[in-house]
Symmetry: C2
Subunit: 343 residues, 2 copies
């Protein structure tokens, strides 16, 4: 036990977070991995003339972009069902890993719980390359400035409210579960987001669809900007999609749309706390309520989980990093067990 | 056994590579992990006025950039020494993971061999954010085009020769060990590289130095563009750096420079095959030979390993992905055991 405590302290030091900020966390045994690794889905070749401005690398040639990076772990004695974790705006797969205050992330926890777990970086973010030759082209005067890609970076001040850490920067909501003392570590997770420059539908949708077909029985778990993507993937092709969990989606499918694509796929839409104090999120939750009601009327197995309505309070938009993140993970696994695995 | 074979076949299918391309690989038992996760090193806050061009996110505010993403795994009964893997130009930490043809990468193998293993994304690449607001600023006409960051993308045609897959695209060298049939999967690993826009010294150097201090006893393993960085880190502060392995460095420290920083740190410089057929690499190997000779004369424990001189043939610049990648990994571990652990 002393060894485990010491390891925990060392991990805190390594993670650059105050030891006092660490919660004890669950007593989980060491994790035994059958197989782990990474691969890409999709991608296409593009020829460009402004790939490089340095002598070391030639300026013209072919590059590959649009592919989606996927990292996976399969535990021994794994479940038949796998989980795919898809991050939201301005973030990468890091979303699901160690929390800003050094606690266990969902990626690790789900593998501990026996699920083969796949964590992606959406195309044009993180380890999934975007195509940036236009930047050199404009810099050299060969292309006009309006041909530049568009980038979105979430500021600390703006994200604070959007992610519902508090009503306005830097005030916090009473009882907030996000580890605010480590928010500086959270800001480091944010990356420039080139989504506005990507084609419609976002290439993540087709990549998730292909990944699900390969995995055969998977639950697609999305967050925020990727919230609707599993539904779009199911519309394109339901093969391999055993369930959908949409965490605080930026929007739900339309309540007046065609519900047929969802009839065979159990889905759960999850929201945290303080929604009624957020002009951004209030209408989104309402739209999702309308969608879930319409889907149910059409015979779909779609549920809405609003955490404070279940007595779980203080959760932010980053609920997979909140202090009670593993309690929420357990809720999701209970739903998967009931709605997906026992179907 | 049938189960393992089936798992291997499924993994090939998942990785999108032909099953026939898979080598059997070593018979390794399942991996037991004591702890795994990720964190960031470094980073600084910057205020910008062109963070966003969409209504959803405010245009001005503070973002954090310059941090280095670090993913780690610590096996049970781990070695006292950890390993840090640092990728090269136009790549990310994916370099060290599953090979393009679906075989085990060094990250996984080193953990199997008992070493806590840390894989980084250099600042401004992969999961380590760069600062891109200038792109929006130029697009909006608020800044001039010369203020754009510079990006380098390695083309298939150029990288083919640079990475020594063959003398010219798409010819291969006789006996080449790179899994050429899966080169399309390798191209997907390449990302836009913003290094030319970063300050000097590259922020990776300070981040590696801080990481080594935290880890206390670590071997920094660099590749290509990051080749000299462990030496620079040792010059800044040798604390925590137990050894250096530089895989095909873009250059070695100067043979006429001060060798004192290296006297206490065993180092190994590694090159693959076909160097004499590459006008790019011939002078680099010569410079490294000169450096190693000078360091030895000064009393440093620095060695040069040129694989074909040891009877190992066919290795490219991406030798951590070549068909004999684990044989080379074993060579490195033997060196670590002799030069670092038994010191």
């Amino acid at each position: 036990m002393k060894h485990i405590l010491l390891a925990s302290v060392c991990a805190s030091v390594l993670a650059g977070v105050p030891v006092v900020a660490q919660q004890a966390g669950p007593a989980l045994p060491p994790l035994t991995i059958e197989k782990q690794g990474s691969f890409f889905i999709g991608g296409h070749d593009v020829w460009s003339a402004a790939l490089s401005l340095v002598d070391n690398y030639p300026p013209s040639g072919t590059v590959t972009s649009g592919q989606m990076y996927v990292h996976f772990q399969v535990p021994v004695q794994a479940s038949r069902y796998s989980l795919v974790l898809v991050h939201g705006c301005c973030l990468t797969g890091k979303t699901w890993e160690t929390t800003p205050d050094g606690r266990m992330g969902w990626d690790d926890y789900f593998v501990h719980k026996g699920y083969p777990t796949y964590v992606v970086d959406q195309p044009s973010r993180g380890r999934s390359a975007g195509e940036m030759a236009a930047v050199n082209g404009v810099k050299q005067g060969q292309r006009s400035a309006d041909q530049l890609p568009t980038v979105t970076e979430a500021s600390h001040e703006g994200a604070w409210t959007i992610f519902r850490f508090g009503p306005e920067y830097p005030k916090t909501f009473a009882g907030v579960q996000f580890p605010i003392e480590s928010v500086g570590e959270f800001w480091k997770q944010m990356v420039p987001d080139w989504n506005q420059s990507l084609p419609t539908p976002n290439p993540t949708v087709a990549a998730l669809s292909e990944l699900a077909r390969r995995l055969e029985r998977t639950v697609l778990i999305s967050h925020s900007q990727s919230g609707r993507f599993p539904f779009f993937a199911a519309e394109a092709n339901p093969a391999g999609i055993s369930g959908i969990i949409s965490i605080e989606p930026g929007g739900c499918p339309s309540a007046t749309g065609d519900m047929k694509p969802y009839l065979g796929i159990p889905a759960l839409v999850v929201f945290g706390d303080y929604i009624d104090q957020s002009p951004r999120w209030t209408p989104r939750l309402k739209d999702c309520r309308d969608f879930v009601a319409a889907a149910k009327r059409a015979g779909a197995s779609v549920e809405l989980l609003v955490l404070p309505e279940e007595g779980i309070h203080g959760n932010t938009h980053m609920l997979m990093q909140d202090r009670n993140n593993l309690e929420i993970a357990d809720r999701l696994l209970t739903w998967i067990g009931r709605a997906v695995e026992k179907r």
